[in-house]
């Protein structure tokens, strides 16, 4: 329960961090909030030989709400989002999902970028980034680049970072007017890794769904974007008589599409059932919040 030896660096700038990472090669790891990495080190699931601690890089500790987007640096903690009234007002899905992330002390240290990079199948933050059409800001030896969430997240605990690259921030576009959003999840105990969860947004105009986003978590891989279910809702009238059928159809498409893993916590069929139920709940709440009912 103690980590193996490593060399420790605490750079003061992104350039310095990139230099250290490229010197370290494949055995270097970025340490941000440490709420996923440190348990893995303590349990010796991984034993990197070099840790690059980015906590002293002041240029990464920023949270900026712009008219068109929210941008947050790699040192923004989950708790920072919950404390920010502009985030709560402009990106309510992000705030709602963040409240489900672990427990207060974990949210105080853990970073949003770290959670997205780690891409745990049950994690909330990767699914929110996908649902909100967010992007990942990356710095590396070849310069900076920005990747769509769906291209960055490449499967269970995997991402598209190339050797020597690091995540420096995330960008969330501001949801369109008329958008309602909801995040729901089910866990045996509050704050535990969820057995399943669903994020949904509905952008409504004149009672018609202009755009839908549905992402399911806890299904084994990274967040699963249910494109079939989204397509089934797009362009459809969602008034009080029709929304029930429409959501049932969308939920059925989610159930048909997901391929959850079975483990000690839940069977695959139970997780699949939860995916459908939670999708329906997320969509009902999203619709009510859109003002479209």
């Amino acid at each position: 329960m103690k980590p193996a030896w490593f060399d420790y660096h605490a750079p003061r700038s992104v350039d310095e961090a990139l230099h250290l990472l490229s010197n370290a090669g494949p055995d270097g790891r970025v340490l941000a909030g440490g709420q996923s990495l440190m348990p893995m080190l303590n349990c010796r699931i991984i034993s990197p030989s070099v840790l690059v601690d980015i906590n002293r890089i002041e240029e990464l500790a920023y949270l900026e709400t712009r008219p068109d987007s929210l941008i947050l640096g790699a040192l923004v903690r989950h708790a920072d989002l919950l404390r920010d009234p502009q985030v709560r007002a402009g990106w309510p899905l992000l705030a709602e999902a963040t409240a489900y992330v672990a427990h207060p002390a974990i949210r105080n240290r853990g970073t949003v970028c770290g959670s997205v990079s780690h891409n745990d199948p049950a994690a909330e933050q990767p699914s929110v980034l996908v649902t909100l059409d967010g992007t990942v800001l990356i710095a590396g030896p070849a310069g900076r680049r920005e990747l769509a969430a769906g291209d960055f997240l490449t499967g269970m605990m995997s991402n598209a970072l190339k050797p020597g690259e690091m995540v420096v921030g995330l960008r969330y576009p501001r949801p369109a007017v008329g958008t309602g959003a909801a995040f729901v999840e089910f866990a045996r105990r509050l704050g535990d890794f969820a057995l399943a969860g669903a994020a949904g947004t509905l952008t409504m105009r004149g009672g018609v769904c202009e755009k839908a986003r549905i992402t399911v978590v806890g299904m084994g891989g990274g967040p699963f974007r249910a494109r079939d279910a989204e397509a089934a809702l797009t362009g459809r009238s969602l008034d009080s008589t029709q929304c029930k059928n429409a959501f049932a159809e969308a939920a059925a498409k989610v159930v048909a599409a997901v391929d959850p893993a079975e483990d000690v916590h839940a069977s695959a069929s139970y997780r699949r059932h939860l995916a459908g139920v939670l999708t329906t709940r997320a969509l009902e709440t999203a619709l009510a919040r859109s003002g479209g009912v």
Binding site: M1, K2, P3, A4, W5, F6, D7, Y8, A10, G34, Q35, M38, P39, N42, C43, L51, D53, N55, A79, A102, H103, P104, A105, I106, N108, R109, R189, L190, G191
Partner: protein, 159 residues
């Protein structure tokens, strides 16, 4: 690359200047280098909450923080909760009088977490208290008395 590093950390108002292995956790630093054994280690991977301390004013798992990361930081442990005259913190007094502990193993983390909750939310509902304490495991199953103690402090029954 040196595997030891010099750090300066303020714990419970006292500043320590120590050379520590870089892989040493803040929890082990507090317990084994400063001999402040009130901070307990349960799971050592962030699940149980017993090692929770206040780090620069925010609760943190000391088992998931390296001692070197605390260089320059201000830390409060359970030993730092009494006031200058040695009087117990209201939360400690409430735990004491409401029987909010049995074996006491989870207590240091419970206290730090509960005190942070009331700083952020001075008038919490019972649900708020339960949510805040959800990351602290008590294996004596004494949650009921703990929740009552926190609510009693919120009602200013202990000052």
């Amino acid at each position: 690359m040196a595997r030891e590093q010099r750090i300066k950390v303020t714990v419970n108002g006292r500043t320590y200047d120590k050379v520590v292995p870089v892989r040493l956790s803040l929890a082990d630093f507090i317990r084994e280098h400063l001999y402040l054994t009130g901070t307990h280690l349960g799971c050592e991977h962030g699940v149980c909450g017993a090692c929770t301390v206040s780090l620069n004013g925010r609760s943190a798992r000391s088992c998931l923080t390296l001692a070197v990361q605390a260089d320059g930081a201000e830390i409060v442990t359970i030993e730092g909760l009494r006031d200058r005259d040695g009087k117990r913190h209201p939360m400690q007094q409430a735990f004491h009088e409401k029987f909010a502990l049995q074996c006491g193993y989870c207590t240091p983390g419970m206290l730090i977490t509960a005190i942070e909750l009331l700083q952020e939310k001075p008038d919490p509902t019972e649900q708020d208290v339960r949510e805040a304490l959800s990351g602290n495991i008590c294996r004596c199953s004494g949650y009921q008395a703990i929740v009552e103690a926190v609510l009693a402090v919120a009602r200013k029954e202990f000052v």
